[in-house]
């Protein structure tokens, strides 16, 4: 600038004036901006403060899921059937680990970790959701666990957890009833309407069968939370025990089962296949619900080895099938009780006798009987289990009346006992045939007369499961009420299906007594004379044997009993109640392909019954101090006249 600009005084003043005005404006603008910023701050820090405060806490704290102890399952006397044992495990969380490879290397110096398992873990962790822990090892010994636990500071992301694992103290005795728990599968998660965090935890197990499945929600409990403070990359800065939420343990389930009876039942079956069901005939409580052979439910808790599962699935005795509920078999001669009741109700004279010559011609078919029984009336036909009598009687009564009677006793019916998996079986009648074959085979819609004699001895289409037969005997023994079986006694202290308002059993009491008396003679002089004796002083057991064909014998009468290939042998049945003079317990025993009911099933029923009777203090006192009284307290009412002794 070579020429000094001529700035005059007024201009100088003007420049200064402009500057002052403009400075004032600019200062005002800055002031306004500041006020706007403070407004924004007030909006964030006062109006929306709560929202951001929540977000901040969500940033700051994570909750680690704490698996609640699963509810115990107890028998009626408080004996643990399913319980929990301490389980030491190591888990790793993806969001807390930095170098998993290195961490696993360090871990493998402390606990056995194969290279293959390490690769598998790397893959598992990489696909697991961020905060969901992945189990590195479970079922560690205390030494291994503590060895890792003291070194966790050097193993970021690895947590040594002391959890609980399901344990079934009796191994196999209850496997079919209570089922088992197992690892959560992808399907399980899909089925859940909104799967909670718990389901992703490696320590959590889900009920897969039986009571464990049916009452899974109640048994689970509510997960707790371990509050931890985390930084922005998810590393745990510190734990906050004050913020921990304790898990709510699962509800305790009490069953009506009696562990002693159930265990004895499994014991008496040995290697044999079958089922045993026992009920308290005053309440309907199921005291025993066994299917044999069984399997060790404990194996499934940590994931059953494939070989173990394969062996179970392939064994012809079908250990995985619950035969007490899902196995249906022809009832055989045990069904004769129903035929007799139907006949009595129909007005058939119990003294009406038929002559048994071992075989009986009907149409162009010859029906057989085990023996040559001679003249048989209704009482003796039940005692000796004469088929010829019941062929004839069934023809007199007709299938529909027999079926109606059988249904009144619970056959062909599914009972709501709180666990799934029952098979209905079948009590056939003419209507059923019409309906069933209407489309598939119209020629077979008609009930053929030749089908009635088979039904009279519990064969043909007739199919029942052991639970139904036990209900049948219970109602027969009770005589008053149409009892309903009950398995779940209480859930979390709440009584389930209390035995009130049981409907009456619409059957003539005198008829029932007639059948009961005949059943009493079965064990004293009839088919189960040798095997149905309790040997418990004054206590007598009444029962009925059954030997059911497992397949139809081509070309007439084949070899009965325990001969031939196992899968072709007859099914053995025995149903019974005791004591005869004051009935308390009813039992049904099936021995699959066991041969004769009296030989295979009755001894088992007797042993199971003895346990129940000896556990009952009232009955035990009768056994130990036989009453010497002028008048016996519970003399059975006199049998109908004309009954042969």
């Amino acid at each position: 600038m070579t020429v000094e600009p001529s700035i005059y005084f007024n201009e100088v003043n003007e420049r200064q004036g402009v500057f002052h005005r403009r400075t004032f404006i600019l200062g005002g603008l800055a002031g306004l901006s500041s006020i706007a910023l403070i407004g924004r701050l007030a909006d964030l820090q006062v109006v929306e403060a709560q929202q951001y405060s929540n977000l901040s806490e969500k940033n700051q704290f994570n909750f680690r899921v704490v698996v609640p102890p699963r509810g115990r399952i107890l028998d009626r006397n408080g004996v643990e059937i399913a319980s929990n044992r301490p389980d030491f495990r190591l888990v790793v969380r993806r969001n807390e680990v930095q170098d998993l490879d290195q961490t696993l290397d360090r871990l493998s110096q402390l606990i056995p970790l194969t290279a293959q398992r390490k690769r598998q873990l790397l893959r598992e962790v990489s696909i697991a959701p961020r905060a969901v822990p992945v189990a590195i090892a479970t079922g560690l010994s205390w030494e291994e666990f503590s060895r890792v636990a003291v070194r966790t500071p050097e193993l970021p992301g690895v947590t040594a957890e002391m959890g609980e694992a399901r344990v079934y103290p009796f191994g196999g005795a209850f496997s079919h009833v209570i089922g088992y728990v197992s690892k959560v599968s992808a399907d399980d998660i899909k089925k859940e309407p909104n799967p909670d965090q718990l389901m992703f935890h490696p320590g959590f197990r889900i009920g897969k069968q039986g009571v464990e499945k049916a009452l899974d929600q109640a048994l689970r409990g509510k997960p707790g939370g371990q509050k931890v403070e985390v930084d922005s990359v998810g590393r745990v800065i510190k734990e906050d025990p004050g913020g921990d939420v304790a898990p709510t343990p699962g509800a305790e389930v009490v069953l009506t089962l009696d562990a002693d009876i159930q265990n004895r039942a499994l014991q008496v079956f040995g290697q044999e296949s079958g089922a045993a069901v026992m009920m308290d005939i005053r309440t309907g409580d199921v005291l025993c619900l066994l299917s044999a052979p069984s399997f060790d439910a404990n194996q499934f808790v940590s994931g059953a080895p494939a070989a173990y599962y394969k062996a179970l699935a392939e064994y012809d005795h079908k250990p995985l099938l619950d035969k007490a509920l899902a196995g249906t078999y022809p009832p055989g001669s045990t069904f004769k009780t129903m035929v007799a009741l139907a006949a009595l109700e129909h007005g058939v004279d119990p003294k009406r006798a038929y002559y048994c010559a071992g075989a009986w011609q009907f149409g162009n078919h010859t029906f057989h009987c085990d023996k040559h029984h001679g003249s048989q009336d209704m009482h003796s036909a039940i005692v000796t289990s004469c088929d010829i009598f019941f062929y004839n009687t069934a023809l007199t009564v007709g299938p529909d009346r027999i079926a109606d009677m059988a249904r009144r006793f619970g056959l062909g019916q599914i009972f709501d006992i709180g666990i799934p998996g029952q098979k209905k079986g079948l009590v056939p009648d003419t209507e059923w045939k019409r309906r069933t074959f209407a489309k598939s085979n119209p020629a077979n819609m008609k009930w053929f007369p030749g089908e009635t004699p088979s039904m009279g001895i519990g064969q043909g289409y007739t199919n029942v499961n052991p639970l139904q037969l036990c209900v049948m005997v219970s109602r027969l023994a009770n005589g008053q009420k149409a009892l309903h079986p009950r398995l779940i006694k209480s859930v979390g202290g709440v009584e389930q299906q209390p035995p009130t308002n049981i409907p009456d059993l619409p059957v003539d009491k005198a008829h029932l007594q007639f059948v009961r008396a005949a059943m009493a003679d079965v064990t004293t002089e009839g088919t189960a004379k040798a095997t149905g004796q309790l040997d418990l002083g004054p206590l007598m057991m009444a029962g009925k044997t059954g030997t059911a064909q497992a397949h139809s014998y081509a070309g007439g009468h084949g070899a009965h009993g325990a001969v031939g290939a196992w899968e072709l042998r007859d099914h053995a049945w025995f149903v019974a109640f005791a004591p005869y003079d004051d009935p308390r317990y009813a039992v049904s025993v099936l021995v699959e392909h066991g041969g004769f009911g009296a030989d295979a099933a009755a001894p088992k029923a007797r042993e199971i019954m003895r346990v129940a009777l000896l556990k009952d203090p009232e009955l035990r006192s009768r056994i130990e101090k036989p009453l010497i009284l002028d008048t016996p307290p519970d003399t059975p009412p006199p049998l109908p006249a004309g009954t042969p002794a």
């Binding site: 003007e14 400075t23 600019l26 200062g27 500041s34 701050l41 951001y52 977000l55």
Partner: protein, 380 residues
């Protein structure tokens, strides 16, 4: 200073007199703000002097001393050095692309300094020097205004090219501020503003680098990408909002302590402060900054020379822009452009720039009666 006209010649040149003329209220406010900064950096490091708080306070101490020394520099020297400093800064800016040192994807450094920072002071001085020499009428509307436009435009382009969008914007706004204070015609101002607004969309679409465009778009829709680019804004808002009215307490800011808040010690130090001290604390802190601006503007308006007025006001405008842009940025009202909070954010360069600026302001105050009548400063 009503008795100002009654001083003896040479009296004001005496050091004791000059020390008395320094604005100690301004010094106290600067000390307070920097002290709060040190305190927050101590908390952000998890109650530790290292690695930020100690260095911050030492730097401030040195810069404070530098400011006091600069206060005594005669205003005529500032005046005379205005163009040379500007030219020097411009020269360095031209050298940056050639010799610059790349850091974080941008070439901003040369010989250990950032030329753009030198330019912040240089531009203010050059503009003040220019307007000192023209009349009010010319400052309002004349062809001569192409010169300040060029003075602003050249360095802005060079800085934007580095790329350093924050500093470029700061240069433009500072320059525009000085032009406005000098008396730019309202019409021209309006036209410029409209043109600037019209230029923004094409500028965003074509001139900006990808990461810069992303920042701007994220600013407009932060919710769309909460873990990516929007993360900074979201976490900053969480820090601010969760602070509430009274704050979480000193040293208890979880967002900063647990590192959810990114850049908690630099660009987002205000959020760190807000989380721990709440709305009350923020209003107090902004009041301190407002106090600094008000005093500095007051210093500018009492200066007898136009150069003094404009240079002090220019520095103040820069300082106020830093504060406003940074605060708006952390509150989610402006894109994340990397403008720190002066005197609080950890970082030496800005501290030096700001304190040299306040050295100029103090010098204007100390020499407020000085008339600069000649383009050739009497010192030269």
């Amino acid at each position: 200073m009503t008795a100002s006209a009654l001083t003896r010649p040479g009296q004001r040149e005496r050091l004791t007199e000059k020390i008395a003329e320094i604005d100690w209220r301004l010094c106290a406010l600067l000390l307070a703000v920097a002290g709060i900064g040190g305190m927050i950096l101590y908390s952000a490091a998890g109650n530790s002097w290292g690695p930020w708080a100690d260095k911050h306070m030492i730097r401030f101490g040195l810069c404070f001393a530098l400011m006091l020394v600069l206060s005594f520099v005669d205003l005529r020297a500032w005046f005379a050095l205005a163009y040379p400093i500007y030219a020097f800064a411009l020269f360095l800016l031209l050298l940056v692309p050639v010799l610059g040192h790349t850091s974080l994807g941008a070439k901003r450094w040369i010989f250990g300094i950032q030329p753009s920072e030198v330019m912040k002071i240089g531009l203010v001085m050059a503009l003040a020097r220019f307007y000192h020499g023209i009349s009010a009428r010319e400052a309002q509307l004349s062809w001569k205004l192409l010169i300040p436009a060029a003075l602003i435009g050249l360095p802005t382009l060079l800085v934007a090219k580095q790329p350093d969008l924050g500093t470029a914007l700061l240069l433009v706004f500072t320059g525009a501020g000085v032009m406005f204070l000098a008396g730019l015609s309202w019409r021209l101002l309006a036209a410029g503003a409209i043109m600037a607004c019209a230029a923004v969309p094409p500028f965003i679409m074509f001139v900006l680098k990808d990461y810069q465009r992303k920042r701007v778009l994220t600013f407009l829709h932060p919710e769309e990408d909460p873990s990516g680019t929007g993360y900074h804004i979201l976490q900053s808002k969480i820090a601010l909002g969760s602070g509430g009215l009274l704050g979480k307490g000193y040293g208890l800011g979880t967002q900063s302590q647990l590192n959810f808040l990114p850049e908690k010690h630099t660009d987002f130090v205000f959020s760190t402060f807000a989380e721990e001290f709440g709305l009350i604390g923020c209003v107090g802190l902004l009041a301190l900054y407002a106090g600094v601006v008000a005093i500095a503007l007051r210093v500018a308006s009492v200066s007898h020379s136009h150069f003094g007025r404009l240079s002090a006001a220019g520095v103040t405008v820069t300082f106020a822009l830093y504060v406003l842009i940074n605060a708006a940025m952390v509150m989610g009202l402006a894109p994340v452009v990397g403008v720190p909070m002066p005197l609080m954010s950890y970082g030496g360069t800005v501290m030096v720039t700001v304190m040299v600026g306040f050295g100029l302001v103090q010098s204007v105050r100390v020499h407020r009666y000085l008339e600069i009548t000649s383009g050739r400063g009497s010192l030269l």
